[in-house]
Amino acid sequence: MEGSTDTAASEGRSRLGRRLLTERLSSYWLQGAGYFAIALFAFIVLALLYQSLPLLSEYSLVQVLASSNWNPAENEFGFLPAIVGTIYVTALTMVMGTPIAILAAIYIAEYAEGRTKTLVSSFIDVLAAIPSVIFGLVALIVVVPFVGDYLAPALGSGATGTGIFTVSLVMAIVVTPFMISLAVESLEALPDELRESSLGVGATKWETIRIVLLRAAGPGIFSAVLLGFGRVFGATIVPAMLIGGQTQLPSSPFSTGQTLPTLIVNDFGELMSIPLTQSALIFVGLMLVVIVWLFNFSAMLLRRWLQQRWQY
């Protein structure tokens, strides 16, 4: 090729040059995009940290986390009620949602066949795609009256219907579809030999599922539950609509309360007037990021351990 001097060759060379230029330019762009996730995360943490400093320079970390007195107008910034509310809602939601999600996933992966299976899984897909504000809206006319008029009085509590239990119930509905699709995926990825091996020694279907399949799919199901956990923990709209928005330590599952995200939503009106409030609410954002990060990290370690322990 080097020796030929006609135009076709030089044209070929310039085309090659153009292609190599494209290659070079594109690789700069792609490299930038590759680092974007890291840069974004770092930027978010730094920005939130910087804006939280005014609060943290006035009060110590222990002071704001352990105080149950939240009153921005009086310069009282105690996050304990919101922290307790968040833990309460998350725990109740997971207790209600997880067993149902795992059982439903077992049904789809191990029991359903043919058209029923397609139908049920596409229903779950749809449920996962419905915006959470719609769940909140429907809950206002279905769940709130149910809890306020029947459930709470039946359990001896004089609640209005909005509160921690209502939020948890609705959040359980919001997160189950996510957990189900992930759990189904990991169950279906298991080789049939596992089922055959277990059934082949005379195990019942349920024994096979409980002892063999749930373990083998364990790391995947574990991730599914964690994903659900993360979504409940940071949920904003449904709690803001249904929790009642009172910053107090909750006394019963039916009492009103506040979660960390709803604190941000409900108190943002006061943001511009009281300078430290702004910093306090941004600090809530920082807390959410840090907890998510810690959680993801420990989950990763635990998942590795499970994978090692329950390999097949």
Partner: protein, 277 residues
């Protein structure tokens, strides 16, 4: 001379998925007790289907239709009120791919014992686990790490672990689906030796694609071709004096052409071209 452990009566299996496939077209057979019967034939000829239909394992797949019957001793496998797991306890199955359950080595063997409530005490369980691990010549290799995950063993060891797991529930019949095909030659030899020891005590029915393995191990040979039973005989007569023309061709390795032709519709793989020599 010998009594019969399993009998199939006109057993036919049809897969009714997108395309209807008759995997087994009415097979009547007798499997003698305490002997090793090898089922041979080209890929996609219904060997595995026959094996799995003996303890109803094919039922975990959708779209399977079955007619005819299987008799374990004199009791029907298909027309019975007995729950299927009770049947599978008496007819065990070892899959082709070495598959440890996601449990420790010890629990893998104890699995069947526990679910059937065979052992009352921990000591008894320990003892049984040791017995069966010894039976498959695995005990000496694993006795120091019984709590390690089963999956950490080599594939050959895993396959023997699977055998121990199946034997632990004391089945009358053991079904083995090409149990050495996924192993390296040395592990395969160990597993073969184990099987040769075991056939004294158990009725073993084994699918194999290796003519040599059938010759070495089997007492009886069953030859299937495209879902039909072609010939069954004791190993010696089968190989030395095949009755059927198709058997002759297969045994001497002259079916390669027809085999390719027929395997194309069943989508069979080419790894198991019969009898290279």
């Amino acid at each position: 001379m010998t009594d019969t452990a399993l009998t199939t009566e006109n057993l036919a299996v049809t897969y009714t998925g997108n395309r209807e496939v008759e995997a087994l077209k009415g097979v009547s057979l007798e499997f003698p007790a305490n002997q090793l019967t090898a089922i041979i034939g080209p890929s996609g000829c219904g060997k595995s289907t026959l094996l799995k239909s003996l303890n109803r394992l094919h039922e975990i797949q959708p779209n399977v239709e079955i007619t005819g019957d299987v008799l374990l001793r004199d009791r029907s496998v298909y027309n019975t009120d007995e729950p299927v797991p009770e049947l599978r306890k008496r007819i065990g199955y070892v899959p082709q791919k070495p598959t440890p359950l996601p449990l420790s080595i010890y629990e893998n063997v104890a699995y069947g014992l526990k679910i059937h409530g065979r052992c009352d005490s921990k000591d008894e369980l320990d003892e049984r686990v040791e017995t069966y691990l010894r039976k498959v010549n695995l005990w000496d290799e694993v006795k120091d790490r019984l709590d390690a995950p089963g999956a950490e063993l080599s594939t050959g060891q895993i396959q023997r672990l699977c055998l121990a797991r199946s034997l632990a529930v004391e089945p009358e019949v053991l079904l083995c689906d090409e149990v050495t095909s996924a192993l390296d030659p040395i592990s395969a030899e160990t597993v073969e030796e184990t099987l040769a020891d075991l056939k004294e005590e158990y009725t073993i029915i084994m699918v194999t694609h290796s003519m040599d393995q059938a010759k070495r191990l089997a007492d009886e040979v069953v030859f299937l071709y495209l879902g039909d039973l072609i010939e069954t005989n004791d190993t010696r007569s089968f190989f030395e004096n095949p009755q059927h023309e198709r058997t002759q061709q297969f045994v001497t390795g002259h079916t390669a052409v027809e085999y390719t032709e027929s395997s194309e519709e069943s989508g069979a793989d080419s790894e198991t071209v019969p009898a290279e020599r």
